[in-house]
Symmetry: C2
Subunit: 185 residues, 2 copies
């Protein structure tokens, strides 16, 4: 495939995901009908569904993309960067997260699919990063990296939940307490 075409496809994909995020965030999964998706994305249903064969595929791709971007941010700016992003981010991203949780709750098939998603490899890179931090003595080694990452994941979900319910976050307090939780003994 010629390079210009690949670039074009990647741009289109980004356009679709950005529009779909607005559509799902504002209208919820059920409310993001095909006309609403066409409107927010600015492409016809034919064009959209040539990239993502179903609405569920589109939503899953969006969730995976959000996870990959969160992972990249986490790797670049540390957990503190993620906390700040949640505290400051636009409400529409938050709506997608809440919607994903609701759908995961009611749909075991989606849950299996979700668990198999790689998030652009972000999860694996995070595991490597935290193993490195343990090896360098920067975080405690008496708790497995898996437990540490699950703990931090729970915190992110809680922060998103509180933000989505409209409550402000205590960024400094959170960051300080997390630092103490991970400190080498």
């Amino acid at each position: 495939m010629p390079k210009v075409s690949e670039q074009h496809r990647e741009q289109r994909r980004r356009q679709i995901l950005d529009g779909a995020r607005r559509a799902f965030g504002r209208h919820g999964y059920a409310g993001a009908t095909v006309p609403v998706l066409e409107q927010e994305i600015g492409l016809s249903r034919g064009a959209i569904f040539s990239y993502y064969p179903s609405k569920l595929d589109l939503f899953t791709a969006l969730a995976d993309d959000a996870r990959a971007r969160e992972g990249d941010l986490w790797l670049e700016q540390g957990f503190e960067g993620v906390v700040r992003r949640v505290a400051e981010q636009e409400p529409e991203w938050i709506g997608v997260h809440a919607e994903a949780v609701r759908m995961l709750r009611s749909d075991p098939e989606l849950r299996a699919r979700w668990a198999s998603l790689a998030g652009g490899g972000a999860q694996q890179r995070l595991v490597e990063r935290y193993c490195d931090l343990q090896a360098a003595g920067e975080i405690r080694s008496d708790v497995p990296v898996d437990s540490i990452l699950r703990f931090l994941g729970v915190l992110v979900d809680g922060l998103v939940t509180q933000r989505s319910a409209g409550f402000p976050l205590d960024v400094e307090g959170t960051v300080e307490l997390v630092r103490a939780a991970l400190q080498p003994k």
Copy 2:
């Protein structure tokens, strides 16, 4: 009012809240229609609405009751007891929590009302408990009690979110990392 009548009213109130929890947990707020509420509670709409004048009043009372019970558990068994309860609790309670978050997100009036609820005084008793723990040197004093309780509240919301999305919890890891976060320096 004679004592037997007060007892009767309290029993009825409990019957209504227990049935309403099942109704909202299984069917969501919109799906818990008046006939569904009558069915799950086992009382007529007249009887139900003589205690709670509207569906929103009933839902708010339920959320406040859940908060009071969580507070009592926390005071009796510590934060670890709350984590274990979330890990083991019945999915229908979880559904009510998710629904409350969704409603708080979309309804600023409900948010204001929620903030003014006392949760049976549980929040105030928790503040006193954690102040006592600081005074006794059992937890760190360099972070305000408010930050500590908000941090733990975020964790509870995150744990409930992960459970509601169908993921298992790492109780031991969570408890150990929280202990370290609060440890006096």
